[in-house]
């Protein structure tokens, strides 16, 4: 049953060294505040799962939280490379990063299978691709009726899934809308669930078939306004495209990355303080 708590407490209680962690959000509603808190609490040896690693995992990988990454597309959308991800894969910095690479379709199906408590997913995919050659967890299965051979991959069952959503009511029922990504499946596939929300409201006033995660599938819910910045929260604020572009410069070199991480994340006590710092005119001038 959902418990309202601070984000720091939620990460302390539910994200442990060595855990398999999924922080999902397809461009929209990416749980940056939670990612920063994981970095602040210096979690190590995590297996990170995410379809599109994005800046959030670039930051966590560069900060040394991850030992392993399962993903399907690792880039800075609309900008270019994830430099910290590349540095880890190409040069083992700050630590070696084992990767398990799948396609979007596969990983989306693997979350569905996890949510449905199945050990594997079946899909039409990978025919002719080299991916099964480098990932022995992409296998085949024959249809028991037609004999047709399809791809089979293991389901994803994170120890903990962390997402950001728009609203939760006082009981902890969570509502999200707009681009839903794979969040519902990532939540239902996980053993534990931490959700940050833009705001806590008395009533959700949701449409009948809205995407709602009932309080009883959530462990911790935390009010963190603008907690998806620099991604966006539909109905609340827009994507900070300037930051996505600035990140390319910040993350390109280890020195600038380390300095940024130290100043902006490790030296701030929480996401509100981080956000205040982002508004600083001097910081904005550097980003632009």
């Amino acid at each position: 049953m959902a418990e309202w708590m601070s984000l720091a407490d939620a990460i302390r209680e539910h994200v442990h060294d060595g855990d398999c962690v999924a922080m999902e959000g397809f461009t929209h509603l990416i749980p940056f505040a939670a990612g920063h808190e994981v970095i602040r609490q210096r979690r190590r040896n995590l297996t990170l799962v995410r379809m599109t690693p994005d800046l959030i995992y670039d930051q966590m990988i560069g900060a040394g939280c991850a030992a392993r990454l399962m993903f399907s597309w690792g880039g800075n959308p609309g900008v270019g490379s994830l430099h910290r991800f590349r540095d880890a894969v190409e040069n083992n910095w700050p630590a070696p990063l084992a990767i398990e690479e799948r396609s979007h379709s596969d990983l989306a199906n693997a979350y569905v299978a996890g949510a449905a408590n199945l050990p594997f997913a079946v899909l039409r995919g990978y025919t002719g691709s080299d991916l099964p050659r480098v990932n022995d967890r992409i296998r085949t299965i024959a249809c028991p009726f037609t004999g047709e051979v399809l791809a089979a991959t293991p389901s994803v069952r994170p120890d903990v899934t962390v997402i950001h959503a728009q609203k939760a009511d006082w009981k902890g029922n969570v509502l999200l809308w707009g681009i839903l990504g794979v969040q519902k499946e990532a939540v239902l596939a996980a053993r534990r669930v931490v959700i940050t929300v833009e705001e806590r409201v008395p009533q959700l006033h949701a449409p009948q078939n809205a995407c709602i995660l009932p309080a009883w599938v959530v462990n911790a819910v935390c009010e963190v306004p603008r907690g998806a910045t620099p991604s966006y929260a539909h109905g609340y604020y827009e994507r900070d495209n300037v930051f996505y572009r600035a990140w390319d410069r910040i993350a390109r070199e280890r020195e600038t990355f380390v300095r940024w991480m130290e100043q902006h994340v490790l030296s701030t006590s929480d996401f509100a303080e981080y956000l205040a710092l982002q508004q600083d005119a001097a910081v904005q001038a550097v980003y632009r």
Binding site: R86, E90, H104, Y111, G125, G178, I179, L180, Y232
Partner: protein, 261 residues
Amino acid sequence: MSQSYSADEMMTVAAARMLRNGAVCFVGIGLPSTAANLARLTHAPDAVLIYESGPIGAKPSVLPLSIGDGNLAETADTVVSTPEIFRYWLQGGRIDVGFLGAAQLDRYANINTTVVGSYERPKVRLPGAGGAPEISSSAKEVLIVVKQSKRTFVDKVDFVTSVGYLTGGDSRERAGLPGKGPVAVITDLCILRPDPVTRELMVATLHPGVTRDRIVASTGWPVQFSAECEETEAPRETELAVLRDLKARTAAAHGETGDGA
């Protein structure tokens, strides 16, 4: 020869023209998105744009910088979950045209977006597969939009992320892939199409002002020109006007060129 348009504009216009009105199109970010929206704003007002993040029937007023921009959701007929997009809509066989890019491409239109060098010790780690392996197999037709250079158009891709015609001939059909495969590769220099029998990419039309020598010098295999090889029709006034207007609106909204990557 002086041109009133850039090579990028020629490429985008040529790609947009490939999209027939009413086609259901699975759109990636960047050039594919620009081309698909240009088509929608010119000759193909009823084209249905599906983005892998969930929007079905998106009609963005500015080009999205990311695959999941809010404008896509707001202008869509409906927004479904990402698993549903891949399961019911792409794998379900409902996509007429998939638009893809490539970091490397070979003569059979096989695509690499995974690594340059070896997989275990890559020289360059690329973003990876994304939706491409299943788009390339399940979309009824595939269009590839990519800038042409020897670095991109290689004799052998370092890694086959997403298949084109495999080893050519009928190897794609024999592998049992549902879709027809890449029907055209649109570059900043020309349009290539697969030979009906060998499935090797042949230059079908040259963009105005581009020489055969330049194509040869920009291709990592001994590229062939089809017998009927002609000149690509130059961008029309209206095409350019709509494209530039779209880009200007996008720049105003995003604070930069907004072309994406």
